[in-house]
């Protein structure tokens, strides 16, 4: 439903995105992940025809976003990063205005209006003035307008930014409930969010796509070592690191806090028993020993710092 090839955007001399290729299939929920200023918003703005690409092409629902932009825009529901709505309008008034711009008839508008007010939890405040709503409710109005014309594609730029924890959970559940019926591309810099809501994750950094897979595969793929964390109460011996390294299969030992060390071992080997025995024999006072699970956060950090290393 969404596809880009060689998408590149320059702002003056600054290259915001470079050679971005991405494909999102029908009914997929894809997370677009990256640190701030990585090029997420730029990519989404190109997809929604707000700005044209400097090079490359993009299609949404089979329509080129530059040459057939009215058609592609018709098939997109877009929630911009700062979903600035007209503060002086009432909720339904604003939604009717949007319906008008999207060519919806009166009957269709009324029907969809009831539906989106309900699904976005706005049924109790349809006549509130948008400027008086809290940030969370404004975000819901933003979502409501994105869903209003029942578009096949939803592009959501940081949909949970500025919401309180309860609202974040509500919005995530809402997005998850859209899976299958809609093709969703959502950007975020909050990693657990992508892990929780998305079937597939695309990681972008410095304007380039650096990884693309399911959250599970990504963590597995990046995992080059098993890591265990040990905490010692009595490690006066300065040579803990070197002594641990002497053990077979231990690849690296890194201090990770007072008395805590991360021990990397070769993939597939389990050295926990060996390490425990070794530590106890030395009398270092073993307080804790646990395997370290790699999160998407680690993957992300690793990928993004590797990228910097290349430059």
């Amino acid at each position: 439903m969404i596809s880009c090839e060689g998408l590149t955007k320059f702002y003056g001399n600054h290259q915001a995105i470079a050679d971005v290729d991405l494909h999102v299939g029908e009914g997929e929920i894809v997370g677009f992940l990256g640190p701030n200023a990585a090029g997420k918003t730029t990519t989404m703005r190109i997809l929604t025809s707000y700005i044209p690409p400097s090079a490359g092409r993009a299609e949404v629902a089979g329509h080129d976003v530059v040459t057939e932009s009215l058609d592609s825009r018709r098939s997109i529901g877009y929630l911009p990063e700062t979903s600035t709505l007209y503060r002086d309008m009432r909720v339904t008034q604003y939604l009717r205005f949007c319906a008008g711009l999207r060519g919806m008839g009166r009957a269709e508008t009324n029907e969809r209006l009831d539906y989106v007010l309900d699904i976005c939890g706005l049924q109790e405040r349809p006549d509130d003035i948008i400027g008086t709503l809290s940030l969370g409710f404004r975000q819901r109005v933003g979502l409501a307008q994105a869903l209003l014309h029942d578009p096949p594609v939803l592009i959501l730029d940081e949909p949970t930014v500025g919401l309180d924890p309860n609202q974040i959970i509500e919005v995530r559940d809402l997005i998850k409930s859209l899976a299958g019926d809609y093709t969703v591309m959502l950007s975020t810099h909050i990693l657990p969010e992508a892990q929780m809501t998305c079937e597939r994750v695309i990681i972008i950094n410095h304007g380039r796509i650096i990884a693309e897979d399911t959250p599970q595969n990504l963590t597995a793929q990046i995992r080059q070592a098993e890591t265990i964390s040990i905490t010692l109460s009595d490690a006066r011996d300065d040579n803990v690191e070197r002594r641990l390294l002497d053990l077979s299969d231990v690849v690296a030992v890194r201090p990770a806090g007072p008395g805590t060390y991360h021990v990397d071992t070769a993939v597939g080997s389990d050295v926990r028993a060996q390490v425990a025995q070794f530590v106890v024999e030395r009398g270092w006072g073993l307080l804790e020993l646990r395997p370290v699970e790699m999160t998407l956060e680690d993957v992300f950090r690793q990928l993004t710092t590797e990228e910097e290393g290349v430059e």
Partner: protein, 237 residues
């Protein structure tokens, strides 16, 4: 066309939910009323609107940048432009919608001024044809003013800057007529032709001539065209 009317309706409504429309109406009708009262209370006053029309067109110039300054700059400043422009609407439809919204307010103001000729007709016999010509002139000038104001609003995200730019362009086109008297014949002629004041003169006297009509219409068209191009260009930044 439907998109144009949707946007125009939204703009017109937002003038009336803010104090803007009422302030504009009070200011415009207040000043015109004052001038009207002074002109009809003079001894041997005639049932003639020529002086009134000059006031009306000048006050229209004064209120224009205030009406138009927010139309596009505010959208750019707050970021609501992004949501608007990612709807399936053409850039020209957005500009035309905003323009018609502003013109809607101006027409409402003009309807308010109809009280003056109506009052006049109770005590005298005004020349209705001359009054019609005057109103056509004010409307045409207003069309050009609003288009220029909208153009100013399209080039900056700051409402204040948009208002200042609007005043600079409008006052320049107003005052350039003075150059006609100061400068030599050739420059003076050009200045006279592009001066709002000179072009309005005929209408105020009750004459409908094609040249000033074409002047105001082309000014309107040109300003709207540049506004559309400015919005299109913003996409390529």
């Amino acid at each position: 066309m439907r998109n144009v009317l949707t946007i125009a309706g939204k703009e017109l409504r937002s003038y009336f939910v803010s104090p803007m429309a009422y302030v504009i109406l009070a200011f415009y009708l207040g000043i015109c009323g004052l001038v009207f009262a002074l002109s009809v209370s003079a001894p041997q006053a005639e049932a003639d609107m020529a002086g009134m029309f000059h006031t009306m067109v000048f006050i229209a110039l004064i209120i224009t940048p205030v009406i138009t300054m927010g139309l596009l700059s505010q959208e750019q400043a707050t970021g609501s432009m992004e949501l608007l422009m990612t709807n399936p609407v053409r850039d020209a439809e957005v500009v035309m919608g905003k323009y018609l919204g502003a013109m809607g307010l101006f027409v409402i103001v003009l309807i308010g001024t109809l009280e003056f000729p109506i009052m006049m007709s109770r005590y005298g016999e005004p020349d209705w044809n001359a009054i019609l010509a005057g109103y056509i002139g004010v409307l045409l000038a207003g069309m050009a003013f609003m288009a220029i104001g909208l153009l100013a609003s399209s080039i900056t995200a700051s409402q204040i800057a948009a208002a200042v730019i609007g005043y600079v362009i409008l006052l320049f086109l107003w005052l350039i007529g003075w150059l006609a008297y100061a400068a030599g014949e050739q420059v003076g002629n050009v200045a006279q032709h592009v001066s709002i004041l000179e072009n309005f003169q005929d209408f105020a006297m009750g004459i409908i001539d094609s040249r000033p009509i074409i002047f105001f219409l082309s000014l309107t068209f040109f300003a709207l065209f540049v506004a559309v191009r400015t919005i299109e260009n913003r996409r390529t930044i």
